[in-house]
């Protein structure tokens, strides 16, 4: 099974979220998701300053075989995007939890994170899917 770091939170749509200081979240797609996609060749990043709702589409990750929407894990405002990915989209495959992060989000509510899955919940979900 793909790596599922214990300290992160997860969505049913295969995003992960990490709480940074000040309550902001870093968001990416899971190792499992990038394996399913295959070689990522392009990302369409969200706009900084855009507001997103929980579960709303906010960007696109394009691999050699599919173009997939990425959904915001919680409601909030996009405060930073990973511009490294414009030239190196393969970072998503290489380090999905590291340099392959997608964007940072300032949640409207600190409690929103509680709605997400923990590592065990996510592991159970993908085990059930396979």
């Amino acid at each position: 099974m793909s790596e599922i770091p214990a300290e992160l939170k997860y969505t049913k749509t295969h995003e992960w979220a990490r709480q940074e200081g000040e309550g902001d979240l870093t968001v990416g797609i899971t190792a499992h998701a990038q394996e399913l996609l295959g070689d990522v060749v392009y990302v369409e990043l969200p706009e900084v300053g855009a507001t997103v709702r929980a579960g709303g589409e906010c960007m696109v990750v394009e691999s050699v075989k599919a173009a997939s929407d990425v959904y915001a894990p919680v409601e909030g405002e996009i405060i930073e995007v990973n511009t490294l990915l414009m030239d190196q989209p393969e970072l998503i495959n290489q380090e999905p939890y590291g340099d392959g992060w997608l964007f940072r989000l300032r949640p409207d509510s600190a409690a929103a994170l509680d709605q997400l899955l923990d590592a065990k919940g996510y592991a159970d979900m993908i085990a059930a899917e396979s």
Binding site: E62, A66, A67, D69
Partner: protein, 452 residues
Amino acid sequence: MPFIPHTDEDIRSMLATIGVPDIEALFDEIPAALRTTDFDAVPPGLNEIEVTRLLRGRAAQNHAAICFAGGGAYQHHIPAPIWEITSRGEYYSAYTPYQAEASQGTLQVIYEYQSMVAALTGMEVSNASIYDGASALGEAVLMAVRLSRRGKSPRVLVPATVHPAYRKVVATLVQNQGISLEEIPYDIASGAIDLEALESIKEDFAALVIPQPNYFGCLEEVDALTNWAHKQGGLVIGVVNPTSLALLKPPGEWGEVGADIVCGEGQPLGIPLASGGPYFGFMACKQAHVRQMPGRIVGRTVDLENKPGYTLTLQAREQHIRRSKATSNICTNQGLMVTAATLYMGLLGPQGLAQVAAACHANTMALVKRLTAIPGVEQVFEKPFFHEAVLRFPVQASTVLSTLGQHGILAGVRLDRTYPELGDTLLVCATELRTEEEIELYTRELAAALPA
């Protein structure tokens, strides 16, 4: 769902939607004199000799006129090898080359086509073609709006000098997408986009469409227009005649940084007029915009043994992968037309194409000079033109058309329906096919038709 098209109820509903009483009424705009009513079906059980005789007789009902009409579709010489090769079974039967391992020939043709279109337009990338020129412009407008969504209102400036049919198609395509099209008037003296009218536009816009040559055949001030649009933060969409590009500055070099998207009708490149189709649209853009370009691109790569191979790439925008978010919903790849165009460009080469373009220009210059020497006939616009010009007559344009038509001359394209302010004018065109004798014949018959 039964695969039976057009039940009686479907037909009734379609007619009701567009407000037409019956099918016959759809053909109202075709003059009665042109319609053939005594046109029986081919009788059953004819032998080959009888069928040949029947069809020859029917073919003889077509009267080929000497064509001085253009307006977006042009009669050019098509060297014999082009359709001889294009109609080989290998090209003729192949539809869309999804299976790369079985379609290397077709894929390579498209790859060569893309390279030639990119070279001709001065752009970095070309797609593998679109349905026709008008829908290519519609797609270019949608693409420009996707590219400029950041902080921009979806508003596109479309000059009145863009082909009227193209403007209608674009309006139809974008009407439900929240995009507004703003018409830019032309300068009545020059026949080109009114630069002063542009200066009054202050609000944000996504793109400016620049036709070159424009519908009147006139050359637009492409450098000034391109720089103006870019200075305002808008993109530039060039709509160009591919033949003219052999002589004119390619859109990739317009202004300081060039046009962003280029499109047009590919028919002049080896496609017969054929009563209006099938034609194909071409589309090219800057590399930076390629992700928003509709349709597919064929790429060249190497296999494990380092042998070259061709494959469809950048397909992630298409329906079979992206479903409802596809950016290529009407991107019908006109493969066979593209094959003919590739052969046409390949056989003529840059020099041959430049000779065709120069001959078109020279013939139209000669035509305009001869016709305007007739008292009462004048050239309407003062701008330089490529291979079309607008002429005004001292009698009704429809009279000129019908009188010359009786002598086997297709005298031009009427403008009074789309540009009523121009009065009795025709858009006339002389391609490389028009001979001195034919130009002389036009001149003589026109002089005879006008009041002394």
